[in-house]
Symmetry: C2
Subunit: 486 residues, 2 copies
């Protein structure tokens, strides 16, 4: 029997209710879009009101309680539950407007947005009102940097518990502190995020995109989400726009600590950061290989081949999922390179999903070192990252992470197959959801969508997205027996 007394339930409910208030404010911004474009306001208004009223009333009821610090257990529960709760409420506009008739579909679309997966069940995206498309892109943007990080930035009462929450939500291994105070670190992260998003809006707007599309695509790019406002994703836009999006996808997949250092002219740190260098090498080498492949085996001009290769590689490695071309139409040995990148992911401390570059770096280096250890069993040979030895504990954690990741991936394939989907579709949907990518292979290729999945499969894929976004441990730990024992 789980011992519920060890959990401080009130503090959890209180933070969740505050998150709903924040979500309500974001929803009201979509209301502005509806007013500008003369679209029906009721669906969004009602959604925002319900979300806000639930948030405020629960907050008021709970605020009578004495202030208490947030422990580890509360932290994991708050972070995991918050992503479920904001998705449950975030789905309301789609349902109330009738744009998505089934609640399961609306929830799938919303959690796919918040987790920056970008897998869609919509078959005709352009038929949606602009206000809903805006809300859809906004879910990406909120989820990209994280609603918890935002909360820590604006909610001083979280105190030292805030660090715990951020660790549980942020991707990567050990979060860098940009400032001794956690609130200040969270503010700086969101600050950089806003600045970069703003910059991308400007660059896109200068091109062929109107302001609305620029904002929506900037949201989706900076969050490495992948929702577009167009049925053909980015394929219909000019090369200029495509290159701008590539540049900002690369930035979004970079550790935001490096952006902070770059803003403070600490460029030396960028040059020596091994994860950043490996990230750029990955992009360079894979783009080169795919470009070559396309030139030899597909009839394309050099610029077009290079652009399609670069765009696809960057879109997949950063787990954004924007598309300019159907890579599954390429020869299989080319799209399998793309498939390989689905297991790589962005940098730690970026908005990108997946396993993350730094983990691969440590795994690879440690495996190689293990060969040396076999030869010299008594010697202690540490793995170094950015010039510093990495503790055994971290290596252990990274290895366990990757194993559980592959295990969940395997279980995902088997369960999807049991639900009746074919081999490639099961593989594609499992990794595209768990890695927060969006497009996969098989039936969920770049020009397909997730509409055909059964409700059960959609809830399962939603769970995979959540596991991926919160990097497994935060969610899985709740299901362990130790969590519920004192």
């Amino acid at each position: 029997m789980p011992d519920l007394r060890i959990i401080n339930g009130r503090i959890i409910v209180r933070v969740l209710s505050f998150l709903l208030m924040i979500e309500s404010v974001f929803m009201f911004s979509a209301l502005v879009v509806a007013l500008i474009y003369n679209e029906p306001v009721k669906p969004i208004l009602f959604s925002a009101l319900i979300t806000g009223i639930v948030g405020v009333s629960v907050w008021l009821v709970m605020s009578k309680q004495k202030r208490k610090n947030i422990g580890k257990r509360e932290g994991y529960l708050i972070v995991s539950l918050s992503w479920v709760v904001i998705s449950l409420f975030g789905a309301l506009p789609f349902v109330f407007s009738g744009a998505i008739s089934s609640y399961t579909d609306a929830f799938f679309e919303t959690i796919s947005g918040f987790t920056t997966t970008g897998a869609t069940i919509l078959t005709d995206i352009e038929s949606l009102p602009k206000s809903l498309l805006f809300w859809r892109s906004m879910t990406h943007w909120i989820g990209g940097m994280g609603i918890i990080v935002l909360t820590v930035a604006v909610l001083p009462f979280l105190g030292i518990g805030g660090l715990q929450l951020m660790v549980a939500e942020m991707p990567g291994i050990t979060p860098d502190k940009l400032h001794p105070r956690i609130t200040a670190t969270a503010k700086r992260l969101w600050g950089i995020y806003v600045i970069l998003t703003f910059a991308e809006v400007l660059f896109l707007w200068v091109g062929e995109m109107d302001l609305f599309d620029s904002v929506c695509h900037a949201f989706a790019t900076m969050a490495t989400g992948g929702f577009s406002t167009k049925n053909s994703s980015i394929a219909g836009f000019a090369p200029y726009t495509q290159y701008v999006i590539v540049a900002f996808m690369v930035l979004a997949g970079t550790n935001f600590t490096l952006h902070y250092l770059a803003l403070h002219k600490r460029f030396d740190k960028l040059k020596t950061n091994q994860e950043f260098r490996l990230y750029l090498w990955f992009i360079l080498i894979f783009t080169f290989a795919v470009t070559l492949g396309l030139l030899f085996f597909v009839n394309l001009g050099v610029e077009e081949a290079f652009r399609n290769a670069l765009f696809t590689i960057v879109s997949i490695i950063t787990t954004t999922g924007f598309i300019t071309t159907d890579y599954l139409l390429w020869p299989s040995y080319i799209w399998m390179l793309v498939f390989t990148l689905m297991f790589v992911g962005g940098s730690a401390g970026s908005t990108g999903g997946g396993v993350k570059i730094v983990r691969h770096f440590l795994l690879f280096k440690n495996s190689w070192t293990e060969l040396k250890r076999t030869l010299h069993p008594s010697a202690i040979i540490p793995v170094k990252f950015n010039g510093k030895p990495v503790s055994q504990d971290i290596i252990f954690n990274v290895m366990a992470f990757f194993l559980i990741y592959m295990f969940v991936f395997g279980i995902g394939i088997v369960l999807l197959a049991l639900m009746g989907y074919d081999f490639e579709t099961s593989i594609g949907a499992a990794i595209a959801s768990l890695g927060n990518i969006g497009p996969g292979i098989g039936g969920v290729g770049p020009v397909e969508n997730y509409a055909f999945f059964s409700p059960l499969a959609k809830w399962f894929l939603s769970f995979l997205m959540l596991l991926g976004r919160l990097e497994l441990f935060t969610v899985l730990i709740i299901f362990s027996r130790a969590f519920w024992k004192n």
Copy 2:
């Protein structure tokens, strides 16, 4: 630049030449079969003579040297090279007889035999002379328990270096010592192997098989190899024969230390061995699931469904690769359960290939423990196996093993795809070779063969088989820089 002076090359060549003498003796046994069945003797006679003469002459030249102990480096080189060398010579009978016209094909068939993979390039197995079929099955039997282990058993001069060699050749984590003296341990292992093979011959002979088929199939079963003398593998034999083979596959996939203990009536050790229990549970649960699946979705009688399920599950988990039915014709969610088992493998210290049950046990338990460690970072929580805590070093080694295994598997898929094979075939051939299974999925399904691969692909798959049989480290370490530096 590699520093060649740190390697004692002469001792390596000397051991290799002794292995050729042993191989020559085994080849002469195939000559007896040729004489009995009135088949051409020249191909095998010449092969045995060449192998023997090369072995004896090199041995004589090298024996002038002073006796020296075998170091770690020499050990890894001896074991890796020995498997290549015996395959190079073992291919001769196929080439000399004209049964396999290309040397690449003959080498592939031979190393597939020695590594107990059982992947064949033969399209009509039954057209081969019995003496060649016997030699083909014999390569399995030699490779199953290991020619190095055999050498240690019969060659006292190896001294303490023998332990090093056996560790490098034997599958598993830490080899159990059946006797303080390594020579005695090796003798006991081969003794049990011979007894079990003999028992299986008797059980098969009692049924419909003649003595020749009984011996060949016993060789292939006890080595978890999978070469049959029939084109349809085991499908054409009666249920009795199939059940006998199932029983001996299960025994072959069990740690031979347990057989030794059972022979000494230490049955308590069997009951409490966690790897053995997990192994049986795997077989039980998967057989149950597949039987159920077959009953519901395929029109089969209960006994036939159960028998096909049991046979396939046992054949794949032990990495034998015998076939009674084409599992790829089953619904995909059923054969994907079979596919999952390709990543499991037999027990440590058995003749089975793959990752091995004990590694999965430790990986799974450690990953779960890692969740606990996240909750209590300062506590030291060890993973236990058979009631004893497992050292961090071993866990580290197992994790590195699995990661390199999956990495090699991934590289394998990409390289095969680059050579022009489709997704499923690339996956199937990579895991079936690396896991020493034989049949895979796609173009290398249970009723297919490996004839269609290009020579380059065949050499690459041969390398994967070697990597799998020697459990990666023994081979890979030779390619590390540290190996060639003092």
